[in-house]
């Protein structure tokens, strides 16, 4: 099967685009969740009796912080699979 140059270029663009979307989109949520985890650990060390509440709130904040990463995951899937 022979592939033309245009098809090869389209595939290359898709791969580069999806990789850039996922890689750059993962920076923000990574830093945000790291911050959340670090401060939650601080709070737990200071007040060990509040561990349960802090863990629930930490998971909630994590879920909100990772939403931009989820958007970029969706974009990457859309580029790779449906575009």
């Amino acid at each position: 099967m022979e592939t033309s140059l245009a098809d090869a270029l389209i595939v290359m663009g898709k791969a580069i685009g999806a990789g850039l979307a996922m890689g750059l989109g993962a920076i923000g949520p990574g830093m945000g969740e790291g911050n959340i985890g670090a401060h939650a650990m601080d709070a737990m060390a200071r007040q060990p009796e509040m561990v349960g509440t802090i863990t629930t709130r930490m998971l909630l904040a994590d879920a909100v912080a990772e939403s931009t990463g989820i958007y970029s995951l969706l974009i990457a899937f859309l580029i790779l699979l449906t575009l």
Binding site: A63, S67, L74
Partner: protein, 280 residues
């Protein structure tokens, strides 16, 4: 009681592993392109020839939504009919969920008039979304694939379709929350106060306020859609990479139970937060 649970667990695991091995032997596709073909597309029925948004139907979304709604209604009628002072298991489950949500809502909403309506809205959303995420993420069942333009039904190759993996469902709920929060704002502050709240620090900020309000339902709905839909796609691809043997159970547990329940909680918490931001 404990022995019964143990036997149930063993039967469940045996069924799970048998289905997994059958899948591994019979249903493994030949190569990766066969898996990814038509993965992100939905089964859509065209009602008439006109190609507009209102002539297309998502049959899986509608069927799963109604199945979950009917199941919840049956459960609610069963629990509500014989409400006792000493609760049985179903009643105490219901009571603990309601108690958990009511405490959070009470601590966030200042105005005592709006505690009960907000509690009803957020708890309804939480229960529905949690059930649909768990059913769509962790329970193996009917799967519809769109390989090569034709619709193919298979049993137990993947989990059920979650209604929340369709953006239409999530956008409906997010817009509903948007309208409800502004209705509450008009009720709480009066029409004049509501109009004034758009020009809050000073009139220059009006466009910012409009954009900020319009961005709320979009991010609200896309967060849930991305988590559930992306989780489903990731599960599907990772299951292919490990040949459907044992690990789908782990993925279903993570993406269905853990992420699904947390996202349901986040959705209802954000509902409460948006309403409280509007009425205060």
């Amino acid at each position: 009681m404990k022995k019964k649970a143990k036997i149930g667990m063993i039967i469940f695991l045996i069924i799970y592993f048998t289905v997994g091995i059958i899948n591994a032997i019979y249903f493994v596709p030949k190569d990766a392109s066969e898996v990814t073909q038509g993965l992100a597309s939905r089964w859509i029925i065209q009602i008439s020839d006109k190609n507009a948004w209102y002539t297309r139907l998502n049959p899986l979304t509608i069927a799963m939504s109604w199945a979950i709604i009917i199941g919840l209604v049956i459960f609610a009628v069963k629990v509500g009919k014989n409400f006792k002072l000493i609760p049985d298991r179903k009643q105490s489950l219901t009571e603990s969920i309601f108690d958990f949500m009511y405490e959070i809502v009470e601590s966030v909403i200042d105005d005592p008039r709006f505690v009960k309506p907000t509690f009803m809205i957020s708890t309804t959303l939480f229960i529905y979304i949690a059930i649909s995420n768990v059913v769509g993420g962790a329970v193996p069942g009917l799967n519809v694939s769109l390989a090569g333009g034709s619709v193919k039904f298979t049993l137990f190759t993947d989990t059920f379709f979650a209604p929340t993996a369709d953006l239409n469902t999530n956008l409906t709920y997010a817009l509903m929350v948007f309208v409800i929060s502004h209705t509450f704002a008009i009720k709480a502050k009066g029409f004049k106060g509501w109009v004034k709240s758009w020009f809050e620090p000073n009139p220059i900020m009006f466009p910012m306020n409009v954009i900020g309000e319009l961005a709320k339902p979009i991010s609200h709905s896309l967060r849930l859609f991305g988590n559930v839909g992306g989780g489903a796609i990731l599960t599907f691809m990772l299951s292919y990479l490990v040949k459907y043997l044992l690990l789908p159970v782990v993925f279903w547990g993570f993406f269905g139970l853990f992420v699904g329940l947390i996202q349901a909680l986040v959705f209802s918490m954000l509902t409460v937060a948006y309403i409280s931001a509007q009425i205060s």
